[in-house]
Amino acid sequence: MTAYLLKRLIIAALTLVLASMVVFAIMEVLPGDPARLMLGLNASADQVELLRNQMGLNAPLVLRYLHWAGGLLRLDFGRSYTYSVPVIDLVRERVAVSLPLALIALALSTIIAIPVGVFSASRQGRAGDTLAMGAAQLGVAVPNFWFALILIYLFAVWLHLVPAGGFPGWNAGIWPALKSLILPAVALALPQAAILGRVARSALIEVLNEDYIRTARAKGLPYRAVLWRHGLRNAMIPVLTILGLQFAFLLAGTIIIENVFYLPGLGRLIFQAITQRDLIVVESIVMLLVAAVILINLLVDFSYAIVDPRLRGRQ
């Protein structure tokens, strides 16, 4: 077990270092000079050169990489060119929106998908299964922003249960903040749930044809007990894989939904930073997301080992 975990950990660390080099290199070759951008079009060449020296942009490449990477390790991402505040402060504000949103959406998607998958798999080919999988097909096909608009119309405009958009901040209290995240979370969760439900169903159907399911039935366990006790855990590996991918997507890929609901999340920050050529912010957020994805993958790998003893190796 320890050997397996250690191996995964080392791989994750190496991936992170490699990714940081790639991100750094890409930002290096992109056109555009941050110093000129900050000083505006009327600045003289001397002024630009002075600022470049101040910002350390003239130092050798390797030194600049080490300086930047060292800063990352201390969570010092540098200062934003456009806002002139530490990048970490900008990011911290946005993560406070994006992370809870992603977690709620993920939880919702799992809570919907697993029971639907189990329901469908245990009624394979019958009316209930056809209906559930038809709904899932629809869930995959419908764009989530369109679905978000319908949710706003129903629950905000018509029923006045939740605000139509905006985020009051966590200082306004937990409930108001949560309330403004519910609709975006649902809009994000449903398509994900549709995909996850289909994966859970097919994984479970495959497992239910295995010999050990028949062994469990021959013990006298009712079908339902066999399904939950012996079926589900064996079907978890593909479900966990998809779950990991979805979490990574939900962290940063939510820009459309953030725009629909006027949420100050990571997606909008990175979009703004790109349009303003605020390279240091882009760089930082990309690195942060890379780190998050690697961490999620590591967690998924660990959960594989929890689910399946064969991956742990001999103790």
Binding site: A3, L6, E210, D211, Y212, R214, T215, A216, R217, A218, K219, G220, L221, P222, Y223, A225, R229, H230, R233, N234, V307, D308, P309, R310, G313, R314
Partner: protein, 540 residues
């Protein structure tokens, strides 16, 4: 009174009749054998008793177990019976256990479900029954997972699950078919003891007449869903009143005719294996110590002469398939050399191996898994032709495929069919056709008949013998089944823990084995003649 009574049982799945008027009884403490070839309805009979039939199956007639009308019982009643009064053991021990649960959990689960026992008591009883089936806790703690056990050990766990609550009836569906003969003998002994201890009824399902004869008091022979013969084992098999019974018995003991047996030392060796070793990387126990390699094949030397038929026998895991892979140049030896027609094939590049591959072909065990289901027979059988120096034209190719099919007893019209249109035996003929199309000098056959029914097995053995006589092909049969060795081989090599421990002429070696592993193998082989003789004495 009988424990289990099946009267006039008919079963239909969809529109296909599976069972027609089956009659069968099992009394307490009695072993009843249910014999038949694949598709005869043996397993479906078992699943009917368990009420674990597929969705579209409809059963009619009467199945009474201990006074309960099974066909009319509710699912709740059946759940109460299954695992408590009726236990079942399945064919494939490698997949019959849940890979993510410990053996303790899996054995205790049924006990706790039926007796409402707590965790501690359930585990206690699981410990006892695992000890009883030969898995003592000191060596096999409850916390073991199935993948940490061998096939025979897993089958013991499955038997423990089935017998944990001392069932009145145990149904064993081909319980030893996937095991080697030594393990088979051990598992059969265990089942026999459990029957005696608990006065349990045992319904033993098998395609192997010898196994059933050794075990059963009475037997029922099933063909195409109908009972063709039934009665006391000794009388049924000694009188062989029904022609199908005779057919089965003859096929089980079939020895193909080889009028010109090979004479050793008559020619230059075709294949020479010298001091071959194969190590696999072992499991690393610590981060700081290198892993100990596992030696699968240990300093093996052997020779095969042209047209000679050699059987390499041994228990599962003894290294015989690894050796075969190296001979076929599908795997590289760690040390040693393999020469084919005097030329070394070890350490050669793939391109240089072409001539050797052309003259050395292979037949695998599973006639279902070794064909691409989406390709036609013509293409499948013609596959090795790319090894020829001069590529045949389309017409020549068809001609060669037709000729190969003819040699294995199939017609030229079969060329345009897909593999699923053939039965298991026909598919094995196809794989033999594929193996001989390049006119090889040596065919390596890895358990070529162990997935086949006895009557088809006899035909395939005849075919092998005929091709050997007609085309002078040398064979290396890899098998754990000594009856195949006796039927086909001029010489037998016994392999044990990576080493060749004995080599000799077939009859000598099988009748007078000298080494311990060879003796164990020979003693474990179920022999129909011996079994009938013993039953005759027992049953008068």
């Amino acid at each position: 009174m009988s424990l289990l009574e099946i009267e006039n049982l008919s079963l239909v799945i969809g529109a296909t009749p599976i069972l027609k008027g089956v009659e069968l009884t099992v009394s307490p403490g009695e072993v009843v054998g249910l014999v038949g070839e694949s598709g005869s309805g043996k397993s479906m009979t078992a699943l009917t008793i368990m009420q674990l039939l597929p969705h579209l199956a409809r059963a009619e007639g009467r199945v009474t177990f201990d006074g309960i009308d099974i066909l009319r019982a509710t699912e709740d009643q059946m759940c109460a019976l299954r695992g408590d009064d009726i236990g079942m053991v399945f064919q494939e021990p490698m997949t019959a256990l849940n890979p993510v649960k410990t053996i303790g959990e899996q054995v205790a689960e049924g006990i706790r479900w039926h007796t409402k026992a707590g965790r501690a008591e359930g585990e206690d009883r699981a410990r006892k029954i695992l000890d009883r089936v030969g898995l003592p806790e000191a060596k096999f703690p409850l916390s073991r997972y199935p993948h940490e056990l061998s096939g025979g050990q897993r089958q013991r766990v499955v038997i423990a699950i089935a017998c944990a609550l001392k069932p009145k009836l145990l149904i064993a569906d081909e319980p030893t078919t996937a095991l080697d003969v030594v393990l088979q003998a051990q598992i059969l002994d265990l089942l026999r003891d459990l029957v005696r201890e608990n006065r349990m009824g045992l319904l033993l399902i098998s395609h192997d007449l010898a196994v059933v004869t050794e075990m059963a008091d009475r037997l029922t022979i099933l063909r195409n869903g109908e009972v063709t013969d039934a009665g006391e084992t000794a009388r049924t098999l000694s009188e062989q009143q029904h022609p199908y019974t005779r057919e089965l018995a003859l096929a089980s003991m079939h020895l193909p005719a080889r009028p010109k047996p090979h004479l050793a030392g008559s020619a230059k060796p075709l294949l020479e294996v010298e001091g071959v070793v194969r190590d696999y990387p072992g499991q690393r126990m610590s981060l700081f110590r290198p892993a100990q390699p596992i030696r699968a094949v240990d300093d093996v030397s052997l020779t095969i002469e042209p047209a000679q038929s050699v059987a390499l026998v041994g228990r599962s895991g003894c290294g015989k398939s690894t050796l075969a892979r190296m001979i076929l140049a599908l795997d590289k030896p760690t040390a040693g050399t393999i020469r084919f027609r005097g030329e070394a094939i070890t350490g050669k590049a793939e391109a240089e191996l072409k001539p050797a591959r052309r003259d050395m072909q292979v037949v695998f065990q599973d006639p279902y898994g070794s064909f691409d289901p989406r390709q036609k027979v013509e293409k499948l059988v013609a596959e090795p032709l790319h090894l020829l120096l001069k590529q045949p034209t389309q017409a020549e190719r068809r001609e060669m495929v037709a000729h190969a099919l003819d040699e294995v007893g199939l017609g030229p019209r079969d060329m345009d069919k897909y593999p699923h249109e053939f039965s298991g035996g026909q598919r094995q003929r196809l794989s033999i056709a594929r193996a001989i199309i390049t006119r090889p000098k040596l065919v390596v056959a890895d358990e070529p008949v162990s997935a086949l029914d006895v009557s088809i097995r006899a035909q395939i053995l005849d075919l092998f013998a005929e091709l050997n006589q007609k085309l002078g092909i040398a064979y290396l049969f890899i098998t754990h089944d000594l009856t195949v060795a006796r039927a086909m081989a001029d010489e037998v090599l016994v392999m044990h823990e990576g080493k060749i421990v004995e080599r000799g002429r077939t009859a000598d070696m099988l009748d007078h084995p000298r080494s311990e592993p060879a003796r164990a193998l020979v003693a474990a082989v179920p022999d129909l003649h011996r079994a009938i003789a013993r039953k005759m004495q027992e049953q008068g």
